[in-house]
Amino acid sequence: MALDQKKEAQNFSDGLSSAVIYRLVKDPMGLVGLLIVVSFVVIAIFADFFAPYDPSKLDILNKLQGPSADHLFGTDQLGRDTLSRLIHGTQIALMVAGVSIGLAVLIGSILGAIAGYGPNWLDFVIMLLFDMVRSYPVIMFALAVVVLFGPSLLTIMAIIVATSFPTYGRLMRTQTQSLRQAEYILSARALGLGMPRILVRHVIPNTIGPILIVASMDVPFVIALEAGLSFLGLGVRPPTPSWGSILNDGYTYIRNSKWILISAGIPLILVTIGFTFLGEQLRDIFDPKIDRGS
């Protein structure tokens, strides 16, 4: 039985992903997006291998250097290698994005499903919660939370979860509501299948696609938010290299060396382009409307 389930899962993902990857790679935009995202993930995983220096190794004599053969992107005010810090910053950026979006998707989906399936009043209350969270500018909410709990990676992730789960919640609710009326769900019920089975076999596989697309488009926003908070000095603790705190260093020493600022912007831009390209392409692939047109 366990074997059977595993095989089933495999079949499912095979059927889904091989076709998706083929169609992704076929389009130049998708290919570029996929390449960028994959290379960032690889860089994050093997940061120690790629980084030419220890990112927190001080070398005060060689501080604020411009780009050179030794330091491709120059050094910061403590003589640390900017490139190495950016490479290690990738870990932070992707971890923050991955963990917090994952949690946001989970919480949002559960709440959204409850709202979509539950009684009207519950739907109303949950929607009110979503609307409420949405009515804060994220940065404002973040400021309040950071001063409340103190700046740390955990706080940032909590903020991202708290501010982005309504997006997924709303999406899930819409999906659930339309699924609720979908004939294949009705027919699963008509077959006398139990609720858990319907959820696992019929509802989730059919809602996860759009949510994944939104999540992938959300990654750059989340990374930018982390960078923004770190820029305001409310982000990760030093000496953890984060793109935002490197940007902040760059801004602080903009007169001494513009290279820190310029180079800290590059990975942010690249990762943004990567995930947006990927997300757009995924949407083109998954969106049945566009599917029909071609």
């Binding site: 927190s56 001080l58 005060i60 501080k63 005010q77 403590l78 003589g79 950071v146 001063v147 103190g150 700046p151 000095g233 409310l234 603790r237 030093p238 000496p239 902040n248 260093d249 801004y251 602080t252 020493y253 903009i254 007169r255 001494n256």
Partner: protein, 517 residues
């Protein structure tokens, strides 16, 4: 400025504990205009919040109050802390409890509030001790008994007890500012942003909150002629923006961050003058004696030994300031001049081993400004070498200034900067026993220190006083709770066609600004 330390609200980008946050000069365009109509654009780190001398908080308030309200005596601009007569024609200390003064006639209030009289002086000073007013800086006048009116221009200040700092931190300071009795009473006994009447060298022509304040000369001023036809004060928090704005000609005088000094020295902006002023302020690493993990003095001494102060000065402050010798800054009574031992990693390790500490994790609370965070990271690396794992808590100013109250004895290391006027007594008062957890974040608990502090307050013999401050600094050093890093200079950048009015620590004396020819 001294009181800036009391202000927990200044934003992170601004070097918040230094008065010298306020500066100015001529824009490139402005300098052309200046030939015709002499205008000055001054950058302050923030907008003023209150103009009432009894309630002032920020450096901007301080600067504004100094230019808007007359004082009997005022600090001179220049490099030494000396006062000169301003509203007073004469002033003398008759005895420890009595000060006689006589006003210059002809100083007029704005509006229709007439001349500045003894009545106004009496009202201005006595309102501090009125419990109804609830002034948070009542301490400046706590020793006041009353101001006696002799005639329209003469009066006598009677004190309840001797108070030496009255000539340093009361009369020439904001608490010495004279407000209009009629206008203030009309406003209900206190005011915030609309004083009703002012009588300084300049008066406010217009105020756009958080954008700009425009000052023009006050006709009723009887002091030295105002140097400019118009002074525009622009609140710009971020020193970096201010520097860029200076280069772009948008401001004429600004304080800049120490980190920018090397660059400006290397390539000074056209027509810019860099003025580095020493201050009595002190930046130090506080090690909480009362904390469980730090209760062994050997651990504290080990931490002190392990830290490379030179590296901090180079890394965070670009080698601009000198290494500190202790609480008291050069040029002040009690300056020791004894340079501390250089970094000694082995000695630090030995001390730790002696104390039986093998691994230690500590937290360092620090304000989240670039310099502090940079310095904190150097400390982190230094302590890592002797096996101490340091976590840096970077806090916004609101949280940082509450950290001792929140965490009490759990507080471990703090990197701090306290401002100070040119008298050491101001600084030693924060480390008294009754200041533990308030400003004494090191929990220094020394009866000897307390006794010396009070004795020194009353001591008039310079030599004896000096010895007392030497002793106090020895107590601090022996406690192992303090690692003094430097006395941060304030760095001011201004156009070469103005002669700025600067207090010795770089604070702006707007009334003294002049054009050069």
């Amino acid at each position: 400025m001294f009181r800036l330390k009391l202000n927990r609200t200044i934003t992170r980008f601004f070097r918040n504990l230094s008065l010298a946050a306020i500066v100015c000069s001529f824009s490139i365009i402005g300098s052309i205009n200046a030939a015709k109509s002499a205008e000055l654009n001054v950058r302050l780190g923030e907008d003023f919040t209150t103009l009432d001398p009894a309630f002032w908080q920020s450096g901007a308030d301080y600067t504004m109050i100094n230019v808007l309200f007359p004082k009997l005596i005022e600090f001179k601009s220049g490099s030494d802390w000396e006062y000169e007569l301003q509203a007073a024609e004469s002033i003398e200390q008759v005895d420890e409890l009595t000060i006689k003064f006589k006003l210059k006639p002809g100083l007029m209030w704005t509006g229709n509030y007439g001349e500045v009289t003894t009545e106004d002086v009496k009202y201005s000073y006595e309102r501090y001790i009125d419990p109804e007013l609830n002034s948070p800086i009542i301490g400046d006048w706590l020793s006041l008994k009353e101001v006696e009116i002799v005639d329209k221009y003469s009066g006598i200040i009677h004190l309840k007890e001797p108070f030496a700092p009255i000539w340093w931190s009361t009369l020439p300071y904001t608490s010495g500012a004279i407000v209009s009795k009629k206008a203030t009473e009309k406003a209900g006994g206190k005011f915030t942003t609309d004083p009703g009447a002012t009588a300084g060298a300049y008066k406010i022509e217009s105020w756009t909150p958080r954008e700009k304040t425009v000052l023009v000369p006050h006709d009723g001023w009887n002091g030295p002629k105002a140097g400019f036809d118009k002074i525009t004060i622009l609140p710009i928090q971020e020193p970096k923006s201010a520097e860029i704005a200076f280069e772009a000609g948008e401001v004429d005088i600004t304080e800049i961050s120490i980190g920018s000094v090397p660059n400006f020295k290397k390539s000074p902006p056209t027509g810019g003058v860099l003025d580095v002023r020493p201050t009595a302020d002190y930046t130090f690493l506080g090690i909480n004696i009362a904390n469980e993990d730090l209760s062994d003095v050997r651990v504290r001494q080990a931490i002190k030994k392990a830290i490379d102060v030179d590296a901090i000065l180079e890394g965070a402050y670009f080698g601009v300031p000198e290494k500190s010798t202790g609480l008291v800054a050069p040029g002040l009574v009690g300056y020791t001049g004894v340079v501390p031992d250089p970094r000694d990693v082995d000695g630090a390790k030995a001390l730790l081993a002696e104390a039986g500490v093998s691994s230690l994790s500590l937290e360092l609370d620090v304000l989240n400004t670039a310099e502090f965070i940079t310095a904190a990271q150097i400390i982190q690396a230094n302590l890592g070498e002797i096996g101490i794992n340091l976590q840096i808590n970077q806090l916004d100013s609101g949280a940082f200034w509450n950290v001792a109250a929140d965490r009490k004895e759990a507080l471990q290391l703090t990197l701090n900067n306290y401002t100070s006027p040119p008298d050491p007594s101001w600084s030693t008062q924060w480390f008294l026993r009754d200041q533990k957890g308030i400003w004494n974040w090191v929990w220094l608990d020394s009866e000897e220190f307390d006794n010396l502090h009070f004795a020194a307050l009353k001591e008039t013999d310079i030599k004896k006083r000096e010895t007392m401050y030497y002793d106090m600094q020895r107590v601090m050093d022996e406690s192992g709770g303090f690692l003094f890093i430097m006395h941060p200079p304030s760095v001011i950048l201004y156009r070469d066609n103005i002669k700025p009015g600067l207090y010795p620590n770089g604070g702006l004396k707007l009334s003294a600004f002049q054009l050069t020819n």
